[in-house]
């Protein structure tokens, strides 16, 4: 890791002033108001809007990077070049139809794009979105069920006292979550509710507090570049 203790150049110092100023401005705006003189919240909202505009432009760079990498794959006929063709075709097809016919279409009122083109494109976009994208995304997400099953039988082993407690608590929560388990014994959902409300909440809060303090220190050190 680079040490921050070396002397900053003039440019670095100027940049650091901007970073420090903007960072602490945002922190201060949350706590301080100057009524009747300037609406600090409106100023920070406007700055945030500029940041959003700049960051959004970076999405174009992402598309360019994807296109470049996969175009090189195709040109050099690498092992997976056929998949690169499919990727680029899918990317630009979806892009074109989304620009014409999605809720974020460029010209929903058919001022420039002919209405017939929009009418033709809309069912295609709906097919690509609802019948293809939604289903593919859901399918990849559903792989999680299989991975959880294999991770569970591998991880839940009573090797020590702590792992036994983890095993028992985990099994009780899984049983409590299964609707049919309440037909076996109603106590499962009561135990699950207790575990979620107390030990789970306590553990989550502990990690949240620790992480929040870590974020405060990390952020302040990043803003002021002073290791304290």
């Amino acid at each position: 890791m680079s040490s921050d203790k070396k002397k900053m150049s003039r440019e670095e110092f100027g940049l650091q002033i901007i970073i420090f100023g903007l960072g602490f401005f945002y922190a201060i705006v949350y706590y301080v108001a100057v009524p009747g003189v300037v609406d600090l919240q409106a100023v920070s909202d406007q700055l945030l809007a500029y940041v959003t505009a700049v960051l959004t432009a970076a999405f174009a760079i992402g598309v360019i990077n994807l296109t470049r990498v996969h175009w090189i794959n195709i040109k050099r006929k690498r092992a997976t070049w056929r998949y690169s063709v499919i990727l680029l075709l899918s990317l630009y097809t979806m892009l074109v139809f989304s620009l014409i016919a999605s809720p974020f279409a460029l010209d929903p009122n058919a001022v420039v794009i002919p209405a017939s083109v929009i009418q033709f494109s809309t069912p295609i976009w709906e097919f690509l979105y609802y019948k293809t994208l939604v289903n593919i995304n859901s399918s990849i997400f559903s792989l999680l069920a299989f991975f959880i099953a294999s991770a569970a039988y591998r991880a839940f082993k009573a090797r020590s006292l702590e792992s036994t407690i983890l095993l028992v608590a985990g099994l009780l929560v899984v049983l409590g979550q299964a609707p049919i388990a309440d037909l076996i014994w109603p106590g499962f959902s009561i135990i699950r509710d207790w575990i979620m409300a107390f030990p789970n909440t306590a553990g989550q809060r502990g990690i949240i507090i620790g992480a929040a303090l870590g974020i405060i220190v990390f952020s302040v050190r990043r803003l002021i570049r002073y290791d304290w």
């Binding site: 809007a49 959003t52 979105y129 299989f146 099953a149 049983l175 037909l183 909440t201």
Partner: protein, 281 residues
């Protein structure tokens, strides 16, 4: 079997596939006990005075449609069964489309677009979220149909989001919920509820226990529970969200995992005892 599981996890995948598919194909149904967090949300909505404004925020991606879409369908149907006004917004790019899909699924009764409900579309950044409680149409000037929001009767009646009686966010990672808690609940006291996936919902329990959230729907099970509550009161909508028919498959998958873990541990202990005996011998 334990050695098969260790050497090739596809055995586990195949068993899980069968266990989940068979109940779905046979359309088996089971009664679902209602959890306190689901009941809390239902009762909160039931007790809302007539003509209250509710925001529904579609903050999930298409990948979690099977988990969160059923929640959105049944809760939206409940809102439409009651004399409430509903505004649809979204902090995710898929939200406006998914909101339209929900509206196409439910029975809207005699509710009129623009008067009783409207889809205001995508909230692009936190500046918009921060500004909406003061003035909705300044920050969301057009709805998803291109209509100026300032001219919609529902916005004329409720020009500021701080007049809302409830925000329900369907969130797959918690970021939208934290934003609503920070900017709406923390500053204006607007009650917030969340419909979440099974992986993130346990992390929201501290907020429910502290009273910052008025209710949590846990995954597709929450949708099935909510559907049963709506059915009990309004005698309709059973099967609308498609969640109730998934409960047997869900239960079977859970019980399979419990059985596999129990079996693996039994095999582990038997192996340990055998090793100890052979060491003694």
């Amino acid at each position: 079997m334990s050695n098969s599981l260790k050497s090739d996890p596809r055995v586990v995948y195949l068993i899980l596939l069968l266990v989940v598919t068979v109940p779905l194909l046979t359309h088996s149904v089971v009664a679902v006990p209602v959890t306190p967090t689901t009941l809390a949300l239902y009762q909160f909505i039931e007790k809302l005075p007539a003509n209250s404004l509710v925001f529904e925020s579609f903050d999930y991606a298409t990948s979690v449609v099977p988990e969160l879409h059923p929640q959105a369908i049944i809760v939206t149907q409940h809102l439409f069964l009651r004399p409430l006004k509903v505004l649809f917004v979204s902090q995710g790019v898929d939200g406006p489309t998914l909101a339209d899909a929900v509206l196409d699924t439910i029975n809207k009764g005699n509710k009129t677009y623009g008067v009783d409900y409207a889809n205001l579309g995508y909230i692009p950044n936190s500046a918009t979220l921060i500004g909406m409680p003061a003035n909705i149409s300044q920050f969301l000037p057009v709805d998803t149909h291109g209509n100026p929001t300032a001219r919609l009767p529902i916005i004329k009646e409720f020009p500021a989001a701080k007049q809302a009686s409830l925000v329900i966010t369907y969130d797959d990672d918690g970021s939208a919920m934290y934003a609503y808690l920070q900017y709406w609940e923390g500053r204006y006291g607007i009650p917030v509820a969340v419909g979440a996936t099974a992986t993130v919902a346990p992390g929201f329990m501290p907020f429910y226990n502290s009273g910052q959230l008025v209710g949590i729907l846990f995954s597709i099970r929450g949708a099935a529970e909510y559907e049963s509550l709506v059915f009990q009161e309004y005698h309709c909508c059973l099967g609308l969200s498609g969640s109730s028919s998934s409960m047997v498959a869900l239960s079977a998958a859970h019980l399979l995992i419990v059985a596999m873990v129990a079996f693996t541990n039994a095999a582990y202990f038997v192996t340990r005892i055998r090793n100890r005996r052979s060491n003694k011998a």
